[in-house]
């Protein structure tokens, strides 16, 4: 309704008033018919068409339904009627304004929440990320000292020093890679769909959750189909989706003590034009496989219930589907699909 052009709005005002004029005599309810015409015009076209309808209604009423058209014999009742018409138009206009404001507020609240969950997720993993960086950094420091030590020996052991220096460079690059991946994760961009290798995206996320999984004694396995065609999507957003699904899987296994904690991710081609990614955990499973995607529905103590809702909206914005597979055995299998990229030959 909001998308009508201004001209269409005025058109509706004219048609509504003409309709009121036609149906009013048989119904013998002139005022109500014109009021309805004004309200319809305002709601569909806004203030301008509403006011046009008020004018048209007043004139039509005066001309067709009063015994002495355009006379000043009964000015008070004419003014009153005009006032009522105007009031109806203004009230209807206020109503649609309020609704529009509420919608805007809701949208921005949702956006803020999605940002907040992102931050919460990242905060949960801050420790893990610190570990990811401190690991190569420890190696760099130790190698650096080893290098100087080898060089200051009598006689200097150049071969060992060289090897240590080479490891400094290698591990330093590793630490840099981690920083680059995190930066990509934080970047706040508009949806930027490009042709990308979904296995590469999965690999990047797996590296980020590696130590979190190790810490919780979870075996992470992947079965990524080689030579998969490129998918069309936003790298950062897809990372977030995969990240969320894996993290949910990890958390779902917190209570598992009687069986191996396994987290499994696989990618494969589905049909001629889509890629399928599955994330399976051996956790406690979900009770309602649709409810989990609802916003604010959560089974976690500290959860906000936004993670999967956001994931689903991201996947749908990509033209794919996100859902839960009927499970075989304990745990949950999430899947999502993505359309293939433009370059099908790759």
């Amino acid at each position: 309704m909001n998308k009508l052009s201004r001209l269409q709005g005025y058109g509706i005002a004219v048609i509504a008033c003409a309709g009121a004029l036609i149906v009013a005599p048989p119904l013998k309810a002139e005022s109500s018919c014109f009021l309805l015409a004004i309200i319809v015009s305002t709601l569909s076209g806004g203030r301008g068409p509403g006011l046009l309808a008020v004018g048209l209604s007043a004139v039509a009423f005066d001309f067709f339904f009063l015994s002495q058209p355009l006379s000043l014999s009964s000015p008070s009742s004419s003014y009153l009627r005009f006032g009522v018409f105007l009031l109806a138009a203004v009230t209807a206009h206020q109503l649609i304004e309020t609704r529009r404001r509420l919608e805007t507020a809701l949208r921005s609240a949702q956006a803020r929440l999605s940002r907040a969950t992102q931050i919460a997720t990242v905060a949960e993993l801050a420790a893990s990320i610190a570990h990811e960086i401190s690991q190569p950094l420890s190696a760099v420091i130790a190698n650096g000292h080893a290098c100087t030590q080898w060089l200051s020996a009598e006689p200097p052991n150049v071969a060992n020093a060289k090897a240590a220096a080479e490891r400094v460079v290698r591990d330093g690059k590793d630490a840099g890679d981690v920083v680059r991946r995190i930066r990509a994760l934080f970047r706040k961009n508009a949806l930027e769909k490009i042709d990308l290798d979904i296995n590469e995206v999965i690999g990047e996320v797996l590296r980020l959750i590696h130590s979190e999984a190790a810490r919780k004694r979870i075996t992470v396995e992947s079965d990524l189909e080689k030579r998969l065609p490129l998918a069309l999507g936003d790298r950062v957003q897809l990372q977030q989706v995969i990240f969320n699904l894996l993290l949910n899987g990890i958390e779902a296994m917190d209570a598992v003590i009687d069986r191996p904690r396994r987290l499994f991710i696989c990618s494969q081609l589905q049909g001629p034009d889509a890629i399928l990614v599955e994330v399976r955990d051996s956790g406690t499973g979900v009770a309602d496989s649709e409810k989990v995607f609802e916003a604010f529905y959560t089974t976690k103590e500290k959860g906000m219930g936004m993670g999967l809702a956001i994931c689903r909206s991201i996947v749908e914005a990509h033209g794919g589907r996100l859902g839960i597979k009927p499970s075989q055995g304990p745990g949950t299998t999430f899947f999502f699909t993505l359309p293939l990229g433009s370059d099908l030959s790759a």
């Binding site: 420790a127 990811e132 401190s134 690991q135 420890s138 190696a139 190698n143 000292h145 075996t219």
Partner: protein
């Protein structure tokens, strides 16, 4: 590098950290053995030398704390924990279970070497004590049952006459036993014998 010098066991699942620590420790003249998992470490036949275990807290499979419990008691080398997470509860648990130190990655190499030195010194002392105890036990094993009966009375400071009365035998016999005990336990004085008995837990 001496063949019988101290040996450092490094157990970390990250190859980069293993390589770096290995090179650093080698460069200061220590022997190093590296392992990627608790299982590998457990399978390895430990060398007879003062040693120290640098142990990563987070490991796939059996983690650092579990390994610490598993090997507690068997003459396990002192443990220096290193971790990238460093949450308070784990560090408390590790220290309570007897770890030498709990280092946060990335750690300073001087700190690490200092801690490693302390750990080796501690292990060397422990090994000396163990060797001494083994020697003392060997000597104790040489005593006859009767001599073992007499020993507590001697170290309690009883006169030969009193001991004889307690055991219902002659003073001369006790005197002979006493002489044998001193010789077999390689004690040059009563004071030394008392000390040895104390170490063996005899009183």
């Amino acid at each position: 590098m001496k063949q019988d010098g101290p040996i450092i066991y490094v157990l970390d699942d990250d190859r980069r950290v293993r390589e770096a620590l290995s090179s650093l420790l080698l460069s200061v003249g220590l022997r190093v053995e590296t392992f990627g998992s608790a299982a590998e470490y457990l399978e390895f036949e430990k060398l007879d030398a003062p040693s120290c275990l640098i142990l990563d807290l987070e490991l796939p499979g059996m983690n650092g704390l579990e390994l610490q419990q598993e090997i507690a008691g068997d003459d396990s080398p002192p443990i220096v924990f290193v971790t990238g997470h460093g949450d308070v509860p784990s560090s408390v648990r590790a220290m309570k279970a007897g770890a030498i130190e709990f280092l946060l990655k990335p750690f300073d190499h001087q700190e690490l070497l200092k801690v490693v030195d302390a750990a080796i010194a501690q292990d060397r002392d422990a090994r000396l004590r163990q060797a001494e105890m083994a020697e003392l036990r060997k000597r104790y094993a040489l005593l006859t049952p009767r001599e073992r009966e007499v020993l507590p009375f001697v170290v309690a400071g009883l006169l030969n006459k009193q001991t004889a009365a307690e055991l219902g035998t002659s003073e001369i016999t006790i005197q002979v036993h006493r002489g044998q005990i001193m010789r077999k336990m390689a004690a040059s004085s009563l004071a030394e014998l008392v000390k040895i008995a104390g170490k063996l837990g005899i009183s």
